[in-house]
């Protein structure tokens, strides 16, 4: 025993703080989160109800709306962010290294601020008055005024636009780094064959970047699934007629406004399963193709 402590004591001391906090605030809560989803737990406590919470969710139109809104937001946002990041990274690739560094920083700067702060600005830009900036700009083109965050038809559009109008700087940096590491020989061979710039991009660059694309798709999908601050700030936590209700906003309302911890945990488990399903699908999509 003393020999064991003498040999390994320091190792355990080194991992002890991290592992203690991890156990108390991650490991136990993960287990507890799944267990809560099987109870009708409220502020006052609760009993085991099996899958009743999940049965409730399948019947709940508000939950359906939240899932629908979250999926719509995710599909549009992830598609836009991946495409924008790929195009911008491709455009800065031919520049000298100083130019690349400058643009990477330029595109990353808007992302250092919190989602709250960014959402506050967008709430101001997309306000329903004619003097709102979005309306003022569109009126130059003879359009509008729109109700934006004041209308159940346009609120979700405003939330989506607030995300996709910003260049995804993280994706640009990652694509740009990956492009720097692509083998030159393929491009030289393509030059010999007389391929143009677009053809080289389409048939060499894009396929070779697939691992980065996959990684970004998984990360951006999981981030988009968790959209909350924008909705909370721009549309007062769900919008007119719950038009912008998302899963995380609904989890927050269910747990911390109505105190229904069990039902909220079931909603969180559904979100987790959605994230796992998407990650599995995306990895299969990567594997299904030719290896490079």
């Amino acid at each position: 025993m003393t020999r064991f402590v003498a040999r390994h004591g320091w190792s355990y001391l080194f991992v002890l703080p991290t592992f203690a906090f991890f156990t108390l605030f991650t490991l136990l809560p993960v287990v507890e989160g799944f267990l809560l989803s099987l109870q009708n737990a409220t502020v006052a406590g609760g009993d085991w109800v099996g899958l009743a919470n999940f049965a409730t969710l399948t019947q709940d139109p508000l939950f359906h709306q939240a899932v629908g809104n979250t999926v719509l937001y995710t599909i549009v946002v992830v598609a836009a962010q991946i495409s924008l990041a790929l195009v911008i990274a491709s455009l800065i690739q031919p520049l000298p290294s100083r130019g690349r560094t400058f643009y990477r920083a330029l595109f990353y700067l808007p992302l250092v601020n919190s989602a709250i702060l960014v959402a506050m600005v967008w709430r101001w830009i997309f306000n329903p008055n004619p003097f709102g900036l979005a309306n003022a700009i569109l009126s130059i083109l003879g359009l509008g005024p729109y109700r934006w965050i004041g209308s159940s038809d346009e609120a979700m559009l405003a939330v989506i636009l607030s995300t996709v109008l910003i260049i995804p700087g993280g994706g640009v940096v990652l694509y740009s780094a990956a492009m720097g590491g692509l083998p030159k020989e393929l491009y030289e061979a393509a030059d010999v064959e007389g391929a143009g710039a677009i053809a080289k991009w389409r048939y060499i660059t894009v396929p070779l970047l697939k691992p980065t694309t996959l990684y970004l798709m998984v990360v951006y999908t999981i981030l988009a699934f968790q959209v909350f601050e924008r909705v909370y700030i721009m549309t007062n936590g769900g919008g007119p007629n719950n038009a912008t209700m998302t899963i995380v906003q609904l989890i927050y309302n269910t747990a911390f406004q109505f105190g229904r911890y069990g039902l909220a945990s079931a909603q969180a488990v559904v979100l987790f399963l959605m994230a796992v399903a998407v990650a599995v699908l995306q990895f299969r999509w990567l594997r299904s193709d030719v290896e490079y």
């Binding site: 968790q226 909350f228 911390f256």
Partner: protein
């Protein structure tokens, strides 16, 4: 097309995209330094016409915004300091040391990475309630220390360090703590810088967790405080944008001071957007 015209049009496109992305930030600052009638002006003024600090004065007088900034610095600073110490210790043990249970521990850590924070939010809230830590600073700070991103980062980095130095120090009679403190830690400075920036940014920007844990508005970090301004000032966009400006300035300064660490951080797996 001439190569130079092509390069020029490329720069025009890229700059336009960059400026469009920066526009909300510009609009925020412009609103904050403009007089009250600015917000209802049609058509909107895109360049400053009149400069005033009236919004800032009103915000400082009517809200505890300074207090919120102090709280944010304290909370994000404390979480960051603990992470630098604990993550480098654990990263060192996972990278260089052998001990029974190491793989099991590491596997447990990895297996929870896919679980979204919303699954643990309610249980963590209930645990803090049973520990009587709701509405306290430790209640916001301690759960932040369960975050394992930094352990991965430090482990990856320390694995690349040579082992000879450690062994030489041990031969010279250094204790295990001294090996960590005087050999490993000084070599980790670049990784610690990335970790510090990312942890600070993450907890400076954190919202839903402090929102749930804290009740007393005097304890709010800035992000939660800003969200409450919305209810208080509703459509007083000058005041709201001034609050947002106060939130934006610190991170922008940090970004310009430590830009290369941000870019390094994204490349090791800390994408945010």
């Amino acid at each position: 097309m001439l190569p130079s015209t092509r390069a020029l049009s490329l720069h025009v496109v890229l700059l336009a995209a960059g400026l469009l992305s920066l526009f909300p930030l510009y609009w925020l600052f412009l609103t904050s330094i403009s007089p009250a009638q600015f917000v209802v002006r049609v058509p909107p003024e895109l360049v400053p016409q009149e400069f005033t600090l009236r919004n800032y004065q009103r915000l400082f007088e009517t809200t505890p915004v300074v207090r919120w900034v102090v709280n944010s610095v304290a909370i994000a600073g404390a979480v960051t300091a603990f992470h630098l110490l604990f993550d480098s210790m654990a990263g060192y043990a996972f990278a260089k040391r052998r001990f029974p249970g190491k793989n099991l521990m590491f596997w447990l850590v990895v297996s929870t990475l896919t679980v979204p924070a919303q699954v643990t939010l309610i249980p963590v809230f209930l645990i803090l309630r049973s520990l009587n830590l709701l509405d306290t600073y430790p209640g916001v700070i301690l759960p932040g220390l369960a975050d394992v991103f930094g352990v991965f980062l430090m482990r990856q980095y320390i694995q690349t360090l040579p082992t000879d130095l450690e062994n030489a120090a041990r031969v010279d009679g250094a204790s295990e703590w001294q090996v960590y403190r005087h050999i490993i830690l000084p070599l980790c400075t670049p990784a610690l810088a990335v970790l510090a920036i990312f942890t600070f940014q993450r907890y400076w920007n954190a919202f839903i967790f402090p929102l749930v844990i804290l009740r007393d508005s005097g304890k709010y970090p800035l992000q939660v405080g800003l969200a409450t301004l919305q209810g208080e000032f509703n459509t007083d966009y000058g005041m709201l944008m001034t609050g947002a400006a106060i939130g934006a300035i610190p991170m922008i300064l940090v970004f310009f001071a430590f830009q290369r660490y941000f870019v390094a951080g994204i490349r090791i797996g800390a994408v945010k957007g």
